[in-house]
C-alpha cells in the first residue's frame, strides 16, 4: 500500500505530465477517417502534433480552431463553424472530434451549444460527417484523463442497445498506455479463442507505421463508426487500465454489455486471469500457442530474477502504466524505491511501494538519488536525469522520441511480459559493476581496532583491556 502525495512545489521542473486535450486527440486517432481538432490557439495543436510525430515518426492529422485574442474574447463559435466547414471541404472525414483547451475553457465557450447550432445551420453541408466534442481543460488532470474522457464520449455518441447479441463479438477498450503492438497482440489473443474484437479506439491500424497505397489527410485505419455502432451487440467489454472503467460501465449502462476491467495485462498472474476469462467467455480452451508462451515467460522470469531481484527501480509514469510497471517489477523481486505520477487515480493507493507522488521528473530524480535507484523507468524526457544519475534509462510510454520503433514495443500478454523483463534485466546486466580492490574498505573503527586502538564507537571497550 502506498501513500499518495502531491508535490508542494510551485514550479514544475522537467514535466512528466502531458495535457488532457492531447490525450483526448490521441484517442481520436484510433478512429478511422477522423480529423481530431483542438479548440484553442495554434500552438496548442502544434505542440501536441510535434510530440506525436516525434514519437511515432508518422504524419499526424490534427487540426486547430486557430483562436486569436479577439475570437477568444468574443467566443469561439465562428472559429468552430469555419473550422468544421473547412475540414469537411478539404478532407471530408467521417468524424470531426473536438477537444477543448485551457484557453477556450477559461473563456468558457459553450461548445456543446455551438455545435447544436452549427449542425442545424449546416445540416446539408455537413451530411455524412459526425462531430464529437469532449471538454478537456489543460489545467485539470493529465493525458490519461483526456484519453479516458474521449473514449467515454465515443461510447456515449455511438453505442446504442442492440436487439440481438452476437455470441462471438467482444469489445476491447484499451488504455492510453497500450502501444499499437499491444493492441494487435490482444486482438490476436482474443481471436485465437474464436472471438471477434471491436477495438475502441484502435491505434493498431492507424499508428502502426504501415505504408498506405494513397495519400490521406485524415487518420487511416482505426475503428470505423459502423463498428462503434455495433458495440452494443457484443457479449462483453474488456477494458485495460482503471482509467477505462468509466467508458466500460457507460457501455454496460447504455447497452447492457457486461464489462470486465483488467487493471493490467502484464505479469504472469495478470495474463493468466485474462486466459481464464477468455476461456469462460468463448467456451474454448487456451490455445497451444499461449501454453507454450507461458512456459517461455516462466523460463524468462527464472533467468531474469537474478538480475532484477532486489534491485531498486525508480518509475515515473501515468497511473495505469505506473501500476503495470510497478507491480511487474515487484513480482520480479525488485523494490520500487521511487514512484512519481501525473494525476489522481484509484490504482495509486495499491502500488507496491511506500509512497507515490503526483509530481515531475525533478521529483523522480531527487528521490531516485536519495534511494540510490539502480534503474530509471520513464519516457524519453528522463534521459537527462538518467545521465546525471549515472543509471540506465528504460524508455517506456509516451513520448519516446529518441528511439525508433515506439509503436512496436510490446509489453503485455505472456510474450510482452517476457520482452519487458528481458529488457530490464539486460539493462541492469549492462550496468553491472565489476569489483575493484578498494570496493570493500574496512570501517575506520575496525581498522583502528586491528591496529590495537579503541574501536571508537563508544561501546565501552577500551584499548587497555585489548592489549592486556
Amino acid at each position: 500500500m502506498a501513500t499518495v502525495g502531491e508535490s508542494r512545489k510551485a514550479c514544475a521542473v522537467n514535466p512528466l505530465k502531458m495535457s488532457q486535450p492531447l490525450g483526448a486527440c490521441y484517442a481520436f486517432m484510433g478512429i478511422g477517417n477522423c480529423m481530431p481538432m483542438m479548440h484553442g490557439s495554434q500552438g496548442c495543436t502544434s505542440f501536441g502534433l510535434v510530440l506525436l510525430v516525434r514519437h511515432f515518426k508518422e504524419a499526424i492529422p490534427l487540426q486547430t480552431t486557430a483562436m486569436n485574442e479577439v475570437s477568444t474574447i468574443l467566443g469561439g463559435m465562428e472559429n468552430i463553424e469555419q473550422a468544421v466547414l473547412n475540414i469537411k471541404k478539404r478532407a471530408n472525414p467521417a468524424l470531426i472530434a473536438i477537444a477543448s483547451t485551457g484557453l477556450t475553457e477559461t473563456k468558457g465557450d459553450d461548445v456543446d451549444g455551438f455545435l447544436r447550432l452549427i449542425e442545424r445551420k449546416h445540416a446539408e453541408a455537413l451530411a455524412g460527417t459526425r462531430i464529437v466534442y469532449v471538454s478537456t481543460p489543460d489545467y485539470v488532470g493529465a493525458f490519461e484523463d483526456g484519453w479516458g474522457k474521449a473514449v467515454l464520449a465515443l461510447v456515449e455518441a455511438f453505442v446504442a442497445p442492440a436487439p440481438t447479441r452476437n455470441p462471438r463479438q467482444v469489445n476491447l477498450l484499451p488504455g492510453c498506455h497500450l502501444t499499437p503492438a499491444d493492441i494487435d497482440e490482444l486482438r490476436e489473443i482474443i481471436e485465437a479463442f474464436g472471438l471477434e474484437a471491436i477495438v475502441a479506439p484502435d491505434l493498431s491500424g492507424s499508428l502502426d507505421g504501415h505504408i498506405p497505397e494513397n495519400f490521406t489527410p485524415t487518420t487511416l485505419g482505426g475503428s470505423t463508426l459502423e463498428q462503434l455502432g455495433r458495440m452494443g451487440a457484443s457479449i462483453a467489454s474488456i477494458a485495460i487500465g482503471a482509467r477505462m472503467t468509466a467508458a466500460a460501465t457507460a457501455l454496460e449502462d447504455r447497452a447492457g454489455v457486461p464489462c470486465r476491467v483488467f487493471d493490467r495485462l502484464t505479469g504472469l498472474g495478470a495474463v493468466d486471469a485474462l486466459m481464464r476469462y477468455l476461456t469462460e467467455l468463448s467456451g474454448n480452451a487456451v490455445p497451444a500457442k499461449y501454453r507454450r508462451q507461458r512456459g517461455q515467460l516462466q523460463d524468462a522470469m527464472l533467468d531474469a530474477h537474478f538480475w532484477i531481484g532486489g534491485r531498486r527501480f525508480a518509475i515515473g509514469a501515468e497511473p495505469d502504466l505506473l501500476h503495470t510497471l510497478a507491480h511487474t517489477a515487484h513480482e520480479m523481486g525488485a523494490e520500487v524505491c521511487a514512484a512519481v505520477t501525473t494525476t489522481q487515480s484509484p490504482v495509486l493507493a495499491g502500488l507496491p511501494c511506500e509512497d507515490v507522488l503526483i509530481g515531475d521528473l525533478e521529483d523522480l530524480e531527487t528521490r531516485a538519488r536519495a534511494t540510490r535507484a539502480e534503474i530509471l523507468v520513464t519516457h524519453s524526457h528522463g534521459r537527462q536525469a538518467a545521465a546525471r544519475l549515472g543509471i540506465p534509462l528504460l524508455r517506456t510510454g509516451l513520448p519516446m522520441f529518441d528511439r525508433l520503433g515506439a509503436s512496436h514495443v510490446l509489453t503485455l500478454g505472456y510474450r510482452g511480459t517476457r520482452e519487458l523483463i528481458t529488457q530490464w534485466a539486460n539493462a541492469l546486466l549492462e550496468a553491472e559493476h565489476s569489483a575493484a580492490p578498494q570496493d570493500w574498505p574496512l570501517p575506520p573503527e575496525s581498522a583502528a581496532a586491528a591496529q590495537g586502538g579503541a574501536c571508537g564507537t563508544g561501546c565501552g571497550c577500551d584499548s587497555a583491556l585489548l592489549t592486556e
Binding site: 514544475a12 486547430t64 489543460d138 495519400f215
Partner: protein, 468 residues
Amino acid sequence: MSAKIQDVFEEPACEHNQQKSAKEKKKGCTKQLSPGAAAGGCAFDGAKIALQPIVDVAHLVHGPIACEGNSWDNRNSTSSGSTLYRTGFTTDINELDVIYGGEKRLFKSIREIIEKYDPPAVFVYQTCVTALIGDDIEAVCKKASEKFGKPVIPVNAPGFVGPKNLGNKLGAEALLDYVIGTEEPDFVTPYDINIIGEYNLSGELWQVRPLLDALGIRILSCISGDGRYREVAYSHRARAAMMVCSKSMINIARKMEERYDIPFFEGSFYGIGDMSDTLRQIARLLVERGAPDDLLGRTEALIAIEEGRAWERIASYRSRLEGKKVLLITGGVKSWSVVSALQEAGLEVVGTSVKKSTKEDKEKIKEIMGLTEQDSAHMIDDMTPREMYAMLKEARADIMLSGGRSQFIALKAKMPWLDINQERHHAYAGYEGMVGLVREIDKALHNPVWEQVRRPAPWETAACTGAA
C-alpha cells in the same frame, strides 16, 4: 501589448513589411489564420524558440501544462556549456490558479528556481490562459528582480496574439527592453561583432566560428545560439552586427543600430557564395568602423582557399549525382542560396518553393536557375501535400528537401527525403555545411533501401497469385 505588436509591425528594416500597403502593414502578421486549415506554432512558441538558445538562463513558462509539458526539450539547439536551457520549468497552473490568479504561484516558482539552480537570470514566458485571467507578469518579474537581486525578464508573447514569427520578434523585444545594454564586457576589441537571429541548431554556429576565429574576429554576442545571459547583456558594445537571413529578430538589429550606433547587414551562412559574401561584409563593416585594413586582404585569402576546397569536395560527387532531380520545399533565402551548390554537384532543381520568399528572393531564384518570366513551373507558390505526394510518387523528382512536416509525404511515397529545416540533425552552415548537404543527399539517394521498398510483394507478382 497591442502597442508593442504595432511597433513590431512598423519595423522599417523588414522588407516583407515594406512591400505592403499602409493598411496591410497595420494588419501586420496577425492576419486571421484559417480555422481547420491552419498549421504551425503560436507566438509563445516563437518567443521561446528565439530565446531558449540562451543556454545558462532558466526559461520558465507561466501557464497550464500543455505549453511546456507537451513541448520541452524538443529543439536541437546546441550548447558548448550549461544545459540549464534544456530543463523544462513551468508553473503548471491548476483550476484554482485560473480562478484566483496565478501570480503568487509564479512568484514562488521564480524563488524556487533561483534557490535551487541559481541561474544568471530567469526568463518568464506569458501564455494564453494566464494572459486571459489577467496575470501581470511584468509586475511579478519586477518584484522578483528586486527581491532576489537577479534579472527576471518578462517575455510577453501569449500564443493567441499571433503566429510563430511574430513571437520571434516579441521575444526579441524582451531582450531590447530588459537585457541588452545592462552589463559591460571586460574588454572590447575592434574586431567585435554580434550575430543576430542564429540559433545554433545542430551546432551550425561552430561551422562558422572557426572562420571568424582564424581572422581574429570575435563574436561578442550571438543572439541567441549558444548564448550566455551576460554576453547578450553587453552586446551593445559590438562594432558591427550581422543579421542572419531569416528576419526573425530584425528588430534587434535595427534598434541596436538606432540606440548604440551598431551598423548591421543581412547575410546568410547557407550556400558557398553567401558564406563568402557574409565574411566580406563582416570584414568591410569592421574596417569601416576602425579595424585595421589588412582584414580585407586576409578575408579574401581565406575565402579563396575555403571556396576552392569546398567546390572541389562537392564536385567529387558529380558523377554520382549527375541529372538527379531535387524538389526544394523551404522558405526564404534557403530557396535559392543552396541551389548553386546543388547545381555544382550535378543535381537538377526541378522546383523550389517561393511561398515565404520576398520579391528579391524570387528574382534571385530566376537568375540562378536561368528561368524566363514564363517559366513559373519551377517556382512553387503553395503546394498541397496531395500534390507533393503525387509529384514524388510519379518520380518527377528523385528527392525532396524540406522541413519535417512534409517528411512522411515523401517517405510514404517511397522516395528519399532530407530535412533542411529546423529539426534537422545535420549541420549545413558555411563551406563545411554545403559539402555536408551534398554528402547527405548522396547518402539518401543511393541507399539500397529504395530499391527494396519499391519491390512488389511476392503476392503481387504473377508467379505467386496462387494460380500456378
